[in-house]
């Protein structure tokens, strides 16, 4: 991204009494992107959002928007709008009046208000419900009105504070697709806060994984998922199996590690030296499982016993306890040429993976 950032956070720190919610955080948000702040509750992600919106004042640092400083500018004078977790629809106003509120504050004339409100309703597919009161709407509909109320103002940046967390699973998936569509349609910069990694991965252009007031890693969903920079990111984003290992030999960009006495070739991008203790991380779907009877190769493998088989329809999840005692979690996809793969509890299996699919930390 070569473009100038639309929002720049520089050394941003926010303390509440003696709790540091955000700790000298730097973040550039680029125009038009869908950026997600992902982290466990209490990691400071919502505080970052509230700092950008102007609901909190900075303890230290600076926030720039389009190059000019934001601090000191009250929320009502910032060109950002928020979709709140609780929706915060005005209960005494109709859907129309809720959406028109921001425009009325800007002294937009009546005919333009009518047109823009209808456009916004159209975008969130809520046309025809203008005269309803918020309490007459379902959760998903309230969500859409909250979206419309924010986007109708055409903000430079739309802030979304866990907007889907109050919805049930089906509706949440539907709204994820809707949000993506609205983002594409409007081209507005979205800053989305969530603790749900699936939500983050499926919607974002970039994800900033936050922990204890700081960003652990920022990157595309693929980078975050496949190349986690540290244990926190690896464990927070999706399921992962962790093996303790130590480096036996180092080659050119690769290494041989010892896991439970067996030697595995791995990539060595972080240039660990011989003898260093490392962790080898493997996603459940990156692990190959072969039943003992069919095992023929001489490839290095770990052996164990199937403890549990969880049939998931398009996948089957296995919990395998290795002979060394630890338990691993594996997801196997059904594919055409292995149609008759049926695992049973108690089966002896070999476990390995393809070179390069692992992450070494």
């Amino acid at each position: 991204m070569e473009k100038a950032p639309i929002v720049r956070l520089k050394g941003v720190t926010k303390r509440f009494d003696d709790v540091t919610a955000v700790d000298s955080l730097n973040l550039d948000i680029y125009p038009g992107e869908f950026l997600t702040l992902l982290g466990p509750s209490g990691c400071g992600k919502t505080t970052v959002l509230r700092l950008i919106a102007g609901f909190e004042t900075l303890t230290q640092g600076e926030i720039f928007m389009n190059g000019s400083r934001l601090d000191g500018i009250p929320p009502n004078k910032r060109n950002v709008n928020t979709v709140f977790q609780s929706y915060a629809l005005f209960p005494h106003m109709t859907v129309f009046e809720n959406i028109a509120f921001g425009l009325r504050m800007k002294q937009t004339d009546a005919s333009a208000i009518g047109r823009q409100v209808r456009e916004a309703l159209d975008i969130v597919k809520m046309s025809g419900l203008e005269s309803r009161m918020p309490h007459q709407l379902s959760g998903g509909q309230q969500q859409r009105v909250a979206m419309a109320r924010a986007i109708v103002n055409k903000p430079l940046v739309l802030l979304l504070d866990e907007p889907l967390s109050a919805l049930d699973y089906r509706l949440r998936q539907e709204m994820e697709i809707e949000l993506k569509r609205v983002h594409r349609q409007l081209g507005i910069t979205f800053v989305f806060v969530t603790h749900d990694q699936e939500e983050a991965i499926s919607m974002s252009d970039r994800i900033a994984v936050m922990n204890q007031g700081a960003i652990e890693q920022i990157g595309t969903p693929i980078q975050i998922y496949e190349e986690p920079k540290n244990m926190f990111v690896a464990k927070f984003v999706g399921e992962i199996n962790v093996f303790d290992a130590f480096v036996r030999e180092v080659g050119n960009g690769s290494a041989v590690v010892d896991i439970h006495g067996r030697l595995f070739p791995v990539q060595n991008r972080s240039r660990f030296g011989p003898g260093s203790l490392v962790k080898v991380l493997l996603r459940p779907e990156d692990i190959q499982v072969t039943v003992e009877e069919e095992w023929s190769g001489s490839d290095p493998s770990l052996t164990g016993r199937v403890d549990e088989v969880i049939y998931k329809g398009k996948t089957v999840d296995l919990i395998i306890s290795l002979d060394e005692g630890e338990s691993i979690f594996v997801t196997q996809f059904f594919n055409e040429d292995q149609e008759n793969i049926i695992y049973r509890e108690g089966q002896r299996v070999h476990v390995n993976w393809l070179y390069g699919w692992e992450v070494v930390l």
Partner: protein
């Protein structure tokens, strides 16, 4: 079963109490208003509309009008004084809120009549305020405070303010601050947040408080009597005089009935507005 018997007893005894001491006496008042005045026996058992004829005279209408104005003025002053107070109180830390409410309720431990006499001691020509101001040299001669319109308002507002503050406090406390943030986020300046979000959402409290100040202010007669020097007649004074001074029970009863009708009208307005506030979703925002 024990539970339901207790409930029957609790409800029943209250109903009995109200019937004996409120409903029946009031029915007598309604009955008397349609009877004939008899100088010897107070009431003669003949149907007569003289009571109503008498009170629909210009004199009584002026009394009514003046009473309404006074009650209205008291309500407006109480609202203007009570709203900021209730707002600040509702936004304080919890322990301070409890303290504030307690301070406001403490005066109720003393009869309001006695508190009105206390106001006289404060405001009279050689009272505490004048003595203090004179001795400080701030004024040359005593201020004329007692027996003025202002004194009447001071007394009424002082007595009725808690009835304004308590419902306001309750509804302001229920106000979802996230809505205020949402309004600010959408570009609303403070005054717009106040007029378009805070006032409409605390309207049930405003209406309840106004009703609870307005209705008693309409009937309270001893405060204007004591602090205003009985210069102007109010509905309350009028009724009292009909019964005790001129011994015209039918006219007094008729005036009481009219006062009740006026109050019922205001309660009906209150009912309508609180129902409207409810259907506009206040209940769902908890």
């Amino acid at each position: 079963m024990v539970k339901s018997r207790f409930r029957n007893f609790a409800v029943g005894s209250t109903m009995l109490w109200i019937t004996v001491f409120v409903v029946v006496p009031y029915l007598f008042v309604v009955l008397y208003s349609f009877l004939e005045r008899d100088p010897a026996a107070i009431i003669a058992w003949n149907f007569d509309l003289a009571g109503y004829r008498e009170i629909f005279s210009p004199v009584f209408l002026v009394v009514c009008w003046y009473s309404l104005l006074l009650a209205l003025g008291t309500t407006v002053i109480s609202l203007l004084a009570g709203y900021p107070f209730a707002f600040i109180l509702a936004r304080m830390p919890r322990p301070l809120q409890r303290m504030g409410l307690l301070l406001m309720i403490i005066p109720f431990w003393t009869s309001s009549l006695i508190r009105t006499y206390a106001l006289i001691i404060l405001m009279k020509a050689n009272g505490i305020i004048n003595t203090a101001l004179l001795s400080l040299g701030l004024i040359e001669e005593p201020l004329n405070m007692l027996y003025t319109q202002t004194a009447v308002f001071v007394g009424l507002v002082y007595t009725l303010l808690p009835f304004m503050v308590l419902p306001l406090y309750t509804s302001i406390q229920k106000l979802d601050t996230r809505l205020i943030e949402a309004a600010r986020d959408l570009g609303a300046a403070n005054r717009h947040i106040f007029t378009r979000i805070i006032v409409p959402l605390t309207m049930p409290g405003i209406v309840a408080g106004s009703t609870m100040v307005f209705l008693p202010a309409l009937g309270l007669f001893y405060i204007p009597d004591l602090l205003g020097g009985a210069q102007t007649m109010l509905i309350g004074n009028f009724i009292k005089n009909q019964f005790l001074t001129t011994v015209n029970w039918p006219a007094g009863s008729a005036a009481s009935v009219v006062l009740t009708v006026i109050m019922c009208l205001f309660l009906y307005v209150y009912f309508l507005s609180s129902r409207k506030a409810h259907t506009s979703g206040m209940g769902d925002m908890a």
